[in-house]
Symmetry: C2
Subunit: 571 residues, 2 copies
């Protein structure tokens, strides 16, 4: 499926939502000049459209395959990955000290959007590497950083996150993998991890697994978890991949979508010969995990943008081509392209608006990563409160848009060869992994609503209010404030019962704010500005009111949920 | 995946929503005594759970296969189909004159729900046969009826609907298949039809294709279409399948789901030897098609119920078993079954409530089929206005519930072996076929809103108002009235631009009415009644308010949709 990188839109969102020029005014990000930003966006777009998009379909139809020797990627992937590394596309946001370009995370986000818009399953591989880089950068020793970060920063080696075990999914504290001290200060790792994306593949000479495990006598739950660095191949004296480190890929999952991404069951230490190094202090695992996970959550929200952009492009192309029926009320009885029919046009404009809203939300949060990295405490709070919104709402929108994309295609949308179905299948994992969207909602009401004594929430609302003009958007902000106050004072059950609708309301309010701003600032390129204003008007006039309809659910008591015993649900 | 027929619920809905006892008081339906209804529901449930449900997975994983000799169903299907015929499950609603049981369509609907709840793809086959029966019953000659209805009524032969061609999807008037008169009064059929569900298979000795085609000199568009009866095998002198009738299955589609249902490309008359009989008058095709299609639309809405019921059962079973994390705020720090977590419980109650709402809506419309059949003109109007709601909203809910079902399963939901993904994939065709949901919305605002001078719409609202007590539900009815008046007076573009949100509002108002009534009447079986009341309360308190949030979109001008030229959507 052809893919057109949305460069003008990305540039505009980086300017108006992220306010990248303000960031570039700081020494740390001085390299992010307008010329560089343009070159990166254009270059990434050309690369992704030219080399990764053509592999999206074979990624789905053939997919990654398990063999006794390890996972084999579909034809073309290994070469396309090497070209990615050689093109330097992995180094955008990586630290300069380790060979990266040190550009803003927000710009890296745009590049990752482009890669994933071209081929979502493939782009998950670099996404995870970024998580490993973050963890090592913040928690690794100088030796670990020197040994691993140069190779991870370029993407020459890839990274994984190993959290989940069969009995430990959302409840990561229930994990049982063990790390036993060895004489030389390293640790012997043993256990089985599941759902490890790109846990094995044939595109890189080494894979760096970051593994959560328990040390002997560790306290129960999340407090007793430590993080270990476990390469697939141990490094030899020259720092090159050497002896096999007893990490086996047992199987890969047979998933509904995202077939290009091998979802592995990994077994560590079957032969008692798996060696790991502790990252950070013992029992510091959960903290290090959140370092990886927070940005990973944004990147999963970004997958919602990726799939929404791809699905929208495909649906628009089809609607501009498919001729069917005369337009109702038109003088001519000639059949027209379906894009001319009002309800099809409504679906397409909704897809455009929701895609832009998701992008604004995720890029906005990504900009806070950069600002927080500069030491801005308010930005840290803002990042904390917008992360669950970006992850959950971004992925929800990806799913909504992918579904609309099938609908625009009609019967053709249900036929696999068309490609609309792949977006729909690929998207469905995103509300689940990196913390289900329900977990995001729990995080919002449980941790973020009360963050900094409630100031994180209050200041977000204040910023929206300071700028919002649309009366419905202002009404939604008022509603969010009232619901937030209600939930903050509520008991656990009521708070969680209302958490998801509240997350949706606050997400739409935030998107509405950022969309309205874009509509106000859209000038210059008149074709782009007109489309933007239409999407913004649709968002404010038609989507924002929907969110007001969620207020009742957000403030409903949990009582109705527990009115009958659990078993009664099965009757 | 095990399937538990929801017999108590079905019986309750037939009693309270369909008011089946009132129907049974009429001679025509005297056979539908409480004992018979119970026996039918129980028997169908046992049969479907025992014989069809176990085949659902192989239907998905193996699926129907094309071979040069025709379509081959997966192992077990042919036998299970014969058992269905022998058990008499196809004859429930078929006319007594032709060997059917002549029971109410609403009861047949319940049986079909059960069959499809057990195995949705499989149940599509009898669904289409019912359409063929309806068409022949209302438009066939006495000879045609005598020759075909006995075999179709038992299900010994199956039926198909042949409308779509590559260039004629939603715009059926664009079809090009031809019928040329032969000397003996029959017609020579020629053309290619696509998307023909169960267009070929190996479960029955004959397949009766109902084919729309153009006769020589026919006017353009839908006015020039005629309906033909085209058996796969011509009947010999004894009325048995004889010579092959030159109907070839060219290929079957590679679909995202519903793999048990072969979606065929059929080629008629490749050898100029395909003989058809005209059904009804020449150019009467579109009228006959609507006879088939109207009930087919209800039956597709019913597929939404089927998939919602199956997905809910699977999610509840998983949530009752999967243990993960302690409950927030609970004294015990022990992990609990996820059904105990408020947000999981919210998803499950939403699934229950939406499934019940979809069932109420579709069964209600089915009851109007029976009443209209008794000559009740008001019921005919009510059927007309509720058909697009049942089709579109029923299928939308099926999709929503299937998606929630995946979410409840977490990562397991994305792994195919779990089965949650199959519901999600199977469901996605239902908003598309038998008239896309956008077409349903256009039908609602274009034809049904003004039906009988607006009386059909007004009387639906009046009936809801006469019974509705919940203030939000009453507010929604007021909103529907205002929006309906607005759309009735609007131009084509505005009316169509608001059609879909309006359809959703009116659907929820109708469901809310029928749900509230059930909550009021739920007594007796206390466990059942308590679950029903919880689902109803959730529906009225949390789902009905969401629909109020659609008012702005339903009354928005189409202007924003056309603010930019179509090509700008691709920029």
């Amino acid at each position: 499926m052809p893919f057109t990188p949305p460069v003008t839109e990305q540039r505009f969102v980086l300017d108006t939502v992220v306010r990248l020029p303000d960031l570039a005014a700081v020494d740390r990000f001085a390299a992010a000049s307008p010329d560089v930003v343009d070159a990166v966006l254009e270059g990434a777009g050309q690369f992704a459209a030219g080399e990764w998009a053509p592999l999206a379909r074979v990624g789905d139809t053939v997919g990654a395959k398990w063999t006794p020797e390890g996972v084999v990627m579909p034809a073309g992937y290994a070469q396309a990955y090497r070209d990615y590394v050689e093109g330097g596309w992995g180094t955008i946001g990586a630290p300069e000290q380790w060979g990266g370009q040190g550009l803003p995370f927000a710009l890296q986000t745009a590049v990752l959007e482009t890669l994933g818009g071209a081929n979502m399953g493939f782009a998950l591989c670099p996404t995870l590497t970024v998580g490993a880089i973050e963890a090592l950068q913040h928690h690794g020793s100088a030796e670990q950083q020197a040994a691993y970060l140069p190779k991870l920063s370029t993407g020459e080696w890839t990274g994984t996150m190993n959290l989940t075990e069969p009995q430990a999914g959302s409840d990561v504290g229930a994990l049982r993998a063990t790390a036993t001290p060895r004489d030389d200060g390293t640790w012997s790792i043993k256990g089985t991890k599941i759902y490890i994306s790109f846990g094995d593949h044939d595109m890189a000479p080494n894979i760096v697994h970051l593994v959560l495990a328990r040390t002997p006598g560790a306290p129960a739950g999340t407090r007793g978890i430590s993080l270990f660095l476990v390469p697939k191949y141990r490094l030899d004296a020259d720092g090159q991949p050497g002896a096999f480190n007893d990490v086996r890929v047992v199987s890969i999952e047979h998933k509904m979508g995202l077939h290009a991404s091998p979802t592995c069951v990994l077994s560590f230490g079957d032969e008692d010969d798996c060696v790991g190094e502790l990252i950070g202090p013992e029992f510091g695992g959960i903290r290090a995990m959140f370092t990886m996970m927070n940005n990973a959550r944004l990147n999963v929200g970004l997958q919602g943008v990726q799939v929404a952009e791809g699905a929208t492009q495909a649906a628009v192309a089809y609607a501009l081509e498919r001729v069917q029926s005369a337009r109702a009320g038109a003088a001519s009885r000639d059949s027209v392209r379906i894009v001319e029919h009002p309800d099809v046009r409504r679906m397409l404009l909704r897809m455009k608006a929701q895609t832009q809203a998701a992008r604004a939300l995720v890029y906005y949060a990504a900009g806070q990563v950069d600002r927080a990295g500069l030491g801005d405490a308010d930005a840290r709070d803002r990042l904390e409160i917008t992360t669950p919104l970006a992850k959950a709402h971004g992925t929800d929108l990806g799913n909504e848009v992918a579904s609309l994309g099938i609908q625009v295609h009609g019967g053709m949308g249900y036929v696999e060869e068309t490609g609309a179905a792949q977006f729909f299948r690929d998207a469905r994992i995103t509300p689940i992994y990196e913390g289900t969207n329900g977990i995001q909602a729990a995080d919002l009401v449980g941790r973020k609503l009360g963050l900094s004594g409630g100031a994180a929430f209050a200041s977000l609302l204040a910023d929206i209010r300071a700028e919002a003009e649309h009366p419905t958007l202002r009404a939604l902000v008022d509603a969010c404030e009232a619901v937030g106050a209600h939930l903050a004072a509520a008991g656990h059950d009521d708070r969680l019962a209302g958490s998801y609708p509240f997350l949706m309301m606050l997400s739409v309010a935030t998107c509405g704010w950022l969309m309205e701003r874009q509509g106000r600032l859209a000038t210059g390129d008149e074709a782009f500005a007109a489309m933007k204003r239409a999407a913004v008007a649709f968002y404010l006039d038609q989507i924002v009111p929907e969110a007001l309809g969620l207020r009742a659910a957000a403030t409903a008591s949990a009582e109705v949920l527990y009115a009958v015993p659990a078993e009664a649900f099965a009757a």
